[in-house]
């Protein structure tokens, strides 16, 4: 058993409901739906934690309210909270969120993924790493790291499955 940073994490109740109720506007093909907090949250809530069989939502690493979206200017900021201040997985989690958003958002958005202020010992260093495009690109060249990230992004509730 590999050593874990946080052996006994707190599990939280899910706050945001799983299904989003659709407004009439959303059913109308002619109305444009703006990007909003909830949409971004839905993209990242199911990312798996690298250490536990739980999602980032369960561990409250990401919450809906820690996301800011500006649709017109094309900027998105995601703040995430590691479960413990000395979590060595913080960079990996940040990277996973980044990659997920990179894959799931149109290229016009500028995405910032940062640690929520005061929730980690080496907050600045991690933020710097995550903000550095070149470093992120270089990290994804590393096949081993890419595999770990992909593992985090393999969504369990994925419903493309052959009917029984």
């Amino acid at each position: 058993m590999p050593d874990k940073d946080n052996l006994n994490p707190l599990i939280h109740q899910r706050v945001t409901p799983r299904t989003r109720l659709k407004t009439t506007n959303e059913l109308d093909n002619d109305v444009r739906d703006p990007f909003d907090q909830r949409e971004i949250f839905d993209l990242i809530r199911d990312i798996n934690d690298p250490e536990h069989p739980l999602t980032l939502e369960d561990l409250r690493v990401v919450t809906e309210k820690d996301i800011t979206v500006n649709d017109e200017e094309g900027s998105i900021t995601v703040l995430f909270t590691p479960t413990i201040p000395h979590c060595s997985m913080a960079t990996l989690i940040g990277l996973a969120i980044r990659v997920r958003l990179l894959r799931a958002l149109p290229p016009r958005f500028k995405v910032e993924v940062e640690i929520a202020p005061g929730s980690h010992n080496s907050e600045k260093a991690v933020n710097k790493q995550l903000a550095d495009k070149e470093r992120v690109a270089a990290a994804l060249e590393n096949q081993h790291l890419l595999n770990v990230v992909n593992q985090c992004l393999t969504i369990k509730s994925n419903n493309y499955s052959p009917a029984a």
Binding site: M1, P2, K4, L7, N8, P9, L10, I11, Q13, K22, E26, L27, N29, V31, R32, D33, F35, E39, D42, L43, E51, H52, P53, R100, R103, A104, L105, P106, P107, R108, L146, N147, N150, L153, T154, I155, N158, Y160, S161, P162, A163
Partner: protein, 1041 residues
């Protein structure tokens, strides 16, 4: 024979027939084994090794074609000695000799002495490890034969056999052989042979494969899977307790490994072993096992490991429960001491609220122990319930509590219910919940009486039901429970809580009807006032009736409720002010009749006390109402009875109730009576039978399309009664019914009427298709008229009759299908005709369903599909070839070719949704051109249905899609930007996402393109489309990683 020998010796190929002939001769006794060997003599004793090999091969081949018991003991003995001595000959003679011996040992005529000779010479002469795969396989098969036929021989050979056996199977690597080896080892062990000091050797040789991780390279249909091997090995390892001292450490070691599948496999294997192990085997390891399990459960990274470890714990405790109970002796382990150790560790954590994983897992550990056995449950409950109740009493949760406190409270409640549920699995003489029942009940009641979250309330109600199920409540408790349920039903408004409350009340009623009758019914029935009840607020009426139908789980209660509700019905009229109230009552009766499936007495009671009064009320209205304007606001003197008439929903509700009742009606006095009554009323208009005898009434003539519309609409009662009753009940004058229905259907202008008539006709055709053949030609000959209104009637009749015929596999189905597909080109009703395919394939609730006792042959959908597909393909082609089409009315009318094609495709998409994938696979090549063509259409609805069909194919039957995926993906990508319709885009994206289920090798070449193209859809202006695109794109990124 000579010829055969010559042929064979000269390496000529076509000797198979000759060999068969020779074997046949041996079988018939024309050729003895002795002759055979003599014939082959010169070759078998030839100095040339190759000749000897050939001779031996020929002999073996002839033997292989003989039935197992053909040769006598004596013949077998000769052959065995001969073949065994071949083993000593040149090594190239071994393979044919071995396969010959496999055949000989399979015979039950083989004497034990000979079997011994075979075993001895094999172990002596054959060096297994230097043989090829097929020979090793033969050797194992040979041993399998001997082990299964000569158990006593194996036992007498004992250690000697075992030693050689271990040597023989040592180092086997081929999965095909391993499968046989595992089976063989299991067989050997289960002969009960004493493993002596060889247990460890045998275990080592077998266990070295654990855990199996086998990836079959090319997945042929009959190839061996990883699972086969895993199960084979597991069976051997768990076959004896002699392995215990070696197996337990191995399993503990594998549980500690880093590989998830190894952990799971170890848990499952260990669970299986436990049933074999005795106390003495297990006792020394208990501490170690508990420590390892604890670690796995609390610190695992995968749910699967957690669950299998918990299952193992349950199995372990179950095994411990079977051990004899010890006194207070020192340093001895038994169930008590083990559970005490577990509880000691877990309980300290349980005193804290459930917030973290460790506490949560401690709970799961305790539950896993409790559900293992009655004794374990008793011990655990005694320790846990006081703790739980203490926590509940300390927590005072109200509206002002923090969310954390609330969620803790909910968790504790949940635990209580779960523990009580575990208890309900066992029958105790003294239930461990009994001392705590009052406290538990009180805590649940408190939850219900206070403000709180829906979830906690639901838990509390479920808890009450569980406690009720334990059968520990006294009468006073029960009365109390009834009061609590009643008052909660009055006060709670949340639909989920209400649903739980209603289920719990129903449960109480089924177990203790007397309590319910005394404590609940009187209060509930007073909720609806005696006078002016129809003005009573709708919600109260609905809630009251909901309670009543939920309580009708016991026949005594049901009778009371039915008479109460029907009494109200008699005091109503089918008029505007009563309408809502009537519908509520009918809804209640429908629920009651649906849930009451038990017992003929019940059904008879319902027929007399619900069905008859309902029919009477409706028919009475229909003969009283002479003019439409008296009926309701929608019906006027000019337009007649409207389609919005208030009576229609009421008739529909009555039909639903009638159907529920009649579906359960069996052949008997009541059935005969009611069917005769209905025939009399409908065919002869004899309504006096129903005690309707007021003056100034119309006659009852429902089959006259021009007489009284309200009466014609009563036709729908027929398909709920005559077509729903059991088939053993004969319907008198069925032909009169059919001809009248046919006439009504074709000549009525009222949509509800002709649809009901068509359904009833179809229902009768399906029941008695032999006697209705003469009407079939009439239906086929009905020409589609000019007027759109008339066309629909013929079409309706056609669709329903086709369904009736297709269901019972009638030979005229084909003609009906042709006629139906012919209508696809009709500009007015083509679309409806295509939608008819959906009606035919779908299970109808109203008629022609198995629950209505229709004749439904197996696989009728497949047969219908096979019949209609050539028609559809032909229709599709012909529409393409002839742009001008003369419609059946004779008018020259230009029909756009795409109209018929579109209708063919729509019909196809309806068909696809109801078909099993095997049928699709066979027809796939015919369908592909149609489906691909359809993808280029602009019709959003058609596109949607074709995309759903393709999605279904990709998800369900991916293999044949593989060849087309390149072109399909292009179409999907194009449609993912289909501007006019949002659902088309969504479905196209779903197809793209689902395509990731196909084999990676096919996907990798197009991965880059798909990922690139999907980028544009990520900025779609609809959110649904965007999230589907994001999902699909993320999945595609993962392809091949």
């Amino acid at each position: 024979m000579d010829e055969l020998v010559k042929l064979f010796m000269n390496d000529l190929d076509d000797h198979d027939d000759e060999i068969l002939k020779a074997s046949l001769q041996v079988q018939e006794g024309k050729l003895t084994v002795l002759n055979l060997v003599e014939e082959l003599g010169p070759h078998l004793t030839n100095t040339d090794t190759e000749a000897r090999v050939k001779g031996c091969k020929l002999l073996t081949k002839i033997l292989e074609n003989l039935p197992d018991t053909c040769l006598s003991t004596k013949e077998l003995a000769t052959l065995v000695i001969f073949l065994c001595s071949r083993l000593q000959d040149h090594y190239t003679l071994q393979p044919p000799a071995l396969s010959g011996l496999v055949k000989l040992t399979a015979s039950t005529n083989l004497a034990e002495g000979e079997a011994k000779i075979v075993i001895n010479s094999i172990f002596k002469e054959v060096h297994v490890q230097s043989c090829l795969q097929a020979e090793r396989l033969n050797l194992y098969l040979l041993l399998t034969n001997i082990v299964s036929n000569h158990k006593s021989l194996i036992l007498s050979l004992g250690r000697n056999f075992l030693y050689n056996f271990i040597q023989a199977i040592d180092g086997e690597q081929d999965p095909r052989n391993l499968l046989v080896v595992f089976q063989l080892a299991y067989d050997v062990i289960s002969t009960g042979i004493d493993l002596l000091n060889l247990a460890e050797e045998l275990f080592d040789v077998i266990s070295c494969y654990f855990p199996i991780d086998f990836n079959p390279s090319s997945g042929g249909k009959f190839s061996i899977t990883n699972q086969d091997l895993v199960l084979g090995l597991r069976r051997v390892l768990s076959s004896t307790n002699a392995f215990a001292q070696f197996c337990i450490p191995l399993m503990l070691e594998k549980l500690d490994s880093d590989i998830e599948s190894a952990k799971v496999d170890a848990c499952l294997t260990f669970s299986e072993c436990l049933s074999q192990y005795k106390k003495i085997d297990l006792e020394p390891y208990l501490g170690a096992i508990w420590n390892t399990l604890k670690q796995e459960i609390t610190q695992s990274v995968s749910e699967e490991v957690e669950n299998s470890a918990l299952d193992l714990l349950t199995e372990l405790v179950r095994t411990l429960s079977l051990w004899p109970v010890l006194g207070q002796s020192y340093r001895m382990v038994d169930l008590n001491s083990f559970l005490n150790e577990v509880l000691e560790e877990c309980l300290t954590r349980l005193k804290e609220p459930i917030r973290d994983k460790l506490t949560w897992m401690s709970w799961r550990i305790i539950m896993a122990c409790a559900k293992a056995s009655k004794t374990a449950c008793d011990i655990v409950c005694k320790a846990v319930f006081p703790l739980l109740l203490e926590q509940v009493s300390e927590m005072s949760v109200d509206a002002s509590s923090t969310p954390l406190a609330k969620s803790n409270f909910a968790n504790i409640m949940d635990c209580i219910v779960k523990m009580a549920t575990v208890c309900s699995n066992f029958t105790f003489s003294y239930n461990p919940v009994l001392p705590h029942k009052d406290a538990i009940m009180k805590s649940f009641q408190d939850v219900l009486s206070k403000e709180g979250s829906v979830q906690v309330k639901c838990t509390a109600v479920a808890g009450l039901a569980v406690i009720l199920g334990l059968n520990i409540l006294s009468d006073e408790n029960l009365r109390n429970l009834a009061t609590v349920l009643l008052s909660s039903l009055m006060s709670q408004s949340d639909p989920k809580v209400r649903f739980e409350l209603l289920s719990a009340s129903g449960y109480l009623s089924s177990k203790h009807p007397k309590i319910v009758k005394a404590c609940m019914l009187p209060t509930i029935t007073k909720l609806i006032p005696e006078t002016e009840f129809w003005h009573h607020p709708k919600e109260i009426v609905r809630n009251t009736l909901e309670c009543l139908s939920a309580l009708s789980t016991h026949f005594d209660i049901l009778q009371d409720v039915v008479s109460y509700v029907v009494d109200f019905l008699f005091r109503c009229k089918i008029e505007q002010p009563y309408c809502c109230f009537l519908l509520e009552c009918l809804g209640c009766l429908e629920t009651i009749s649906k849930n009451s499936t038990a017992g003929d007495d019940h059904t008879d009671h319902l027929v007399i006390n619900i069905a008859l009064p309902l029919i009477k009320i409706c028919i009475k209205t229909s003969v009283q109402l002479t003019v439409p304007e008296l009926c309701c606001a929608s019906c006027t003197a000019v337009n007649g009875f409207s389609i919005d008439c208030i009576s229609l929903p009421i008739i529909k509700a009555v039909t639903a109730v009638l159907r529920n009742i009649f579906q359960n009606l069996r052949l008997g006095k009541t059935a005969k009576f009611i069917v005769k009554l209905l025939t009399d009323i409908y065919l002869n208009g004899n309504i006096a039978e129903l005690d309707i005898s007021e003056e100034k009434l119309l006659k009852f003539d429902p089959f006259n399309p021009k007489f009284a519309l309200l009466q014609s609409r009563m036709i729908c009662f027929l398909h709920a009664t005559l077509c729903a009753v059991d088939r053993s009940v004969t319907i008198p004058h069925i032909e009169d019914f059919q001809s009248k229905l046919l006439n009504l259907c074709l000549h009525s202008d009222d949509q509800p009427t002709y649809v009901a008539a068509a359904k009833t006709f179809a229902g009768l055709v399906n029941r008695a298709h032999k006697s209705s053949d003469k009407y079939m030609q009439d239906v086929l000959d009905c020409s589609v008229g000019k007027a759109k209104g008339k066309k629909l009637q013929v079409l309706t009749l056609l669709i329903w009759t086709t369904k009736a015929l297709a269901l019972c596999n009638h030979e005229m189905t084909k003609a009906f299908i042709q006629k139906l597909v012919g209508l696809f080109g009709d500009p007015d009703i083509g679309e409806t005709a295509a939608a008819g395919c959906d009606i035919i394939m779908r299970d109808s609730k109203e008629v022609l369903s198995p629950s209505s006792h229709a004749v439904v042959r197996l696989m009728y959908r497949q047969r219908f599909f096979l019949l209609i597909i050539p028609e559809l393909v032909a229709g599709f082609r012909s529409a393409k070839d002839t742009p001008m089409e003369i419609s059946q009315t004779g008018d020259l009318e230009q029909v756009l070719p795409s109209v018929k094609q579109a209708h063919c495709l729509t019909a196809l998409s309806h068909l696809l949704l109801h078909l099993p994938k095997q049928v699709l696979l066979q027809q796939f090549s015919h369908l592909t051109p149609l489906l691909v063509k359809a993808l280029h259409s602009d019709d959003a609805i058609l596109l949607q249905s074709v995309l759903s069909a393709l999605l279904y194919l990709i998800e369900d039957a991916a293999a044949p899609m593989e060849a087309h995926i390149d072109s399909l993906i292009n179409d999907f990508l194009r449609l993912s930007r289909f501007k006019p319709n949002l659902d088309v885009r969504l479905k196209a994206l779903k197809c793209i996402g689902a395509s990731t289920l196909l084999p990676t090798t096919i996907l990798l070449p197009i991965k880059k393109k798909v990922v690139q193209e999907l980028r544009y859809v990520l900025d779609d202006h609809k959110r649904d489309v965007r999230s589907e695109a994001a999902k699909a794109r993320s999945e595609w990124y993962l392809v091949g990683t």
